[in-house]
Symmetry: C2
Subunit: 312 residues, 2 copies
């Protein structure tokens, strides 16, 4: 897509859905000359090699990072600090160090102390994904028309910021700059709360004695199944998100619960007007999301279940 | 699909997503000879006529029902009683009267007193739909591979039950028989709670001062947008569901809230193991739903946003 590659050697630490998608996008679009991949699981590393995602593979993160001018941490956010300590001695001056974690203030707190002078540390978060995980789940168009949020610390080198922004733009994304704390608040409502609510409702259904699991499964097309997608996301990733964005998540959970109590009260007391008003104003938001190009306008997500008779 | 039509004249009272889909399916598959359509809104009735959904159109439900051997109430559940009173005088002996409402005990309570002797009243609920509403939203494959629950009262005529079952089977559905109270409990967890939670979270996001609406929209692909689909459903229908399945919904809401409090506590106290365990067991349910043919196995619902570069 571009002429010369933006980077000589990109090191990906972690090769799940996001790492794998970055590798495939960067390779397909010629954004980097060489790709080094490291992950602590030998089985996952072998799978990455079978998929030919990189040029160099090692379970030793420091070996992968050695000589890299772009280092991207693609591990669950709880693992960032240990990785930063590990690679710190081999990070070369002038290199850009970034990550893809769903929380940003925690990454700043945990990684910054281990970044050597002369290395440009610019935390990042591509707002893209599916419910699947692992290197096989990656694909090269994952970042197209999505947003990537960067949270450059004060005094960040402008050239490094522009280069990293260019990388994400070539990956297909629009780049936004944000304060890490504000990022964490925004993501708490648009991503963390939805996932937690989804996990929670699926758990509640799983626990019922009065309705069997097979009934939940059979009739799930009436609404429930939508939640099971988010609730099938990677458990380690989401445990780490909870532990690393505690304050913002608790704030959003508590607002959600307050609103739910008000709804519960309206149902108990038969306040149809309150319910009708709420159910009406929520429609507009979906319309706006579709207009912003962040959602399909096909009914039911354009979903086709294992339905061979459906011909549209 | 079959030989002779199952019914001479089918009357549809209400012609939204479900009524329109029934009309199209029945016509396409030759299940009825004649289709009479009634709805109280002249504009909607006119639209149904433009779409050529039926053979006879009237804002007077009694006129549509006159001479029908199959009458299907396709109105929001709160309107069933008034419609039943209205059509009661013209329901002919031997006719089958059914409905498509999302609550069943309320329909039994509100409609039964108005059913003349000799009319077979068999409440029903096809578990199918999209977030869209109105006659334009209907399509003839909506019921394929879905379930239709019938709640025949004690002493229901066996031949009538078989005939109505055959109708739904020809529409593409599997028929289940259930007690109305149990139906209401099952639907409270698989359908009503998911919709209410979705409406609630979208409402919570809409109310925030710290995160702007445009940020919620921009970054919605990270989870939030999934909820906006259910929260775009028909407000009148869902208000009526809440008012007519109060007990079961309050029971499920209270279980959900308890579980949410436990999760909130785990987050506050950093109980990663509790979170990891919950996030792990919820994955299995999605797998089961996919295996049961009630969900697509494509990542992200196979959704393609307004994404022209995505080529898979």
């Amino acid at each position: 897509m571009t002429g010369a590659p933006l980077f000589e050697r990109m090191a990906l630490i972690g090769i799940g859905l996001i790492g794998s998608s970055i590798a495939q996008t960067a390779r397909q679009r010629g954004l980097v000359k060489e790709i080094a991949i490291s992950t602590r699981s030998p089985a996952t590393l072998q799978r990455a090699e079978e998929l030919e995602l990189g040029d160099f593979y090692s379970v030793d993160a420091a070996q992968a990072v050695d000589g890299a001018d772009l280092v991207i941490l693609c591990v669950p956010v709880g693992a960032n600090e240990a990785v930063a300590k590990w690679i710190s001695p081999v990070l070369k001056a002038g290199a850009i160090l970034t990550d893809v974690g769903s929380t940003k203030q925690s990454v700043v707190d945990q990684v910054s102390p281990h970044v050597p002078k002369g290395v440009h540390f610019i935390p990042g978060h591509p707002i893209a994904g599916t419910e699947q995980s692992g290197p096989d789940a990656g694909f090269p168009t994952l970042f197209d028309q999505r947003w990537c949020i960067l949270t450059p610390p004060k005094g960040t080198d402008q050239a490094a910021l522009e280069k990293l922004s260019a990388f994400w733009q070539e990956c297909g994304s629009n780049v936004d700059l944000m304060d890490p704390k504000h990022h964490d608040l925004v993501l708490a409502i648009v991503s963390h709360l939805p996932h937690l609510i989804a996990y929670n409702i699926v758990g509640t259904a799983d626990d019922l004695e009065t309705v069997t699991k097979s009934q939940v499964i059979k009739y799930s097309a009436s609404g429930f199944r939508d939640f099971t997608r988010l609730a099938a996301s990677d458990p380690t990733m989401w445990r780490d998100v909870c532990l690393n964005n505690k304050e913002a998540i608790l704030e959003m959970l508590s607002r959600f619960s307050e609103d739910l109590s008000a709804m519960q009260r309206a149902i108990r007391w038969g306040d149809g007007d309150m319910l009708f008003d709420l159910f009406t104003r929520t429609r507009g938001i979906r319309r706006s999301i579709i207009e912003a190009g962040q959602e399909t306008d096909e009914p039911d997500f354009g979903r086709h279940a294992a339905d061979t008779r459906q011909d549209d």
